[in-house]
Subunit: 209 residues, 2 copies
DNA sequence: ATTGTGACTGATATACAAAATGGTCACTTG
DNA sequence: CAAGTGACCATTTTGTATATCAGTCACAAT
């Protein structure tokens, strides 16, 4: 899995201090490892400090709180998914095909996060539950992506043009949510991969001119 | 709210003993009151026994387990919703309108359960999480209902006929789930009542011939 | 026979003291 | 002054001893 770093440029809320990217990255890297191994709850800020060879207090020169570190990790995970989505889009020719790939890539990789990186998945779930910025940015990003695809499909004549763009988009985001929101995906794991495919078909029927 | 008792004839699993409906109903009534006031967890089987003037052991002449009582209560709640749905359907003329009402009635009354009978809602959530028979019966019932409506719409020419009925139905059940499954509805409460309406519109577009 | 009981048991929940943690800040170090 | 520390405090988390509960069963009452 290519680890293209997200360039969501997720609003770095909770980040503070000078732009000493080296140390900040060291913290993030240590956090990603510890969080994915032991989980967010069982990792202490002191653990992270020890891992990078500093004391706990110094961490707070770079991050407002432990949660801010969690948000950074979460933004990384979700950013990876959006990267994979964009990667999957480059050789898709039609808006229809792009739509299919967005849906498929998101549901598959969210499920993969659940099965392969369960501890990080749990952070993403908390992020969704508590509406952290990292989750909001992810949703906004996907929403914007879908909007351009819908517009493209409307222009090419693949999709209908009567329904207001906003409503089309909101409707689609609603039916996509169970496959991209960790809180909901948890309850649909045993309906994969058929469910997202069936929903995609339904949506494409609704988009037909 | 009219309390038309459900006639889902929900598979009475976990129910045992003779059909002494009076005492069994007494147990169920006591359970509904206690569960809705104090919750499933904080109600003991002895509490229910005391409420009907018997001893704990006697309860088990009628129900296999405490969970079986919970299932009965849950089936009652969900059965009330299906009753309301059927009630809403009697004066709907077109399949389109019937579809709208199914969606609207389910989402509104599930949310009402959350806000007005939170403790009972929690039981329904556990029922969904642990896949109790009461939840499965509810889903099956709604699914069957939707199937007849789709068929009706197909025959009247309101809906398209190309897509296999099963796939149409499954797709619709997938997008309905976030509004009828308590586990998912919890996370969509602040998108009501717009979200179900927008999803309904999307589905109706997908059903258009 | 039918209706009903309450003592018994392993598993679960509660309560509460002790330990650990997130976060701050005055201070040291180079 | 910039980089970094660790004692300190309020809040959570954890460990654990105790109490409660779900479920059974032999038996009592009618």
């Amino acid at each position: 899995m290519i680890a293209a770093m997200n360039d969501i440029r997720t609003a770095p809320s909770g980040v503070r201090g000078p732009a000493e990217t080296e140390k900040r990255d060291a913290i993030v890297n240590a956090a990603k490892e510890h969080f994915s191994l032991y989980g967010y709850g069982k990792t202490t800020v002191s653990d992270l400090a020890k891992a990078i060879g500093f004391s706990k207090g110094y961490i707070y020169k770079f991050f407002d709180s432990k949660q801010a570190i969690g948000e950074a990790i979460c933004a990384g995970c979700l950013g990876e998914i959006t990267s994979l989505v964009e990667e999957a889009l480059v050789d898709a020719t039609t808006a229809t095909e792009k739509f299919r790939r967005v849906f498929k890539t998101i549901s598959e990789n969210s499920a993969a996060l659940f099965f392969d990186e369960r501890k990080l998945y749990d952070i993403a779930a908390v992020s969704a539950l508590e509406r952290w910025g990292s989750s909001q940015a992810y949703v906004d990003h996907v929403s914007a992506l879908l909007q351009t695809i819908i517009l493209e499909g409307r222009e090419s004549g693949e999709f209908e043009r009567k329904t207001p763009l906003d409503e089309t988009l909101r409707g689609i985001m609603h039916v996509l949510e169970p496959f991209m929101n960790p809180l909901m995906l948890q309850h649909k794991l045993d309906e994969l991969p058929d469910a997202p495919n069936e929903v995609t078909n339904l949506v494409l029927r609704s988009l037909a001119p």
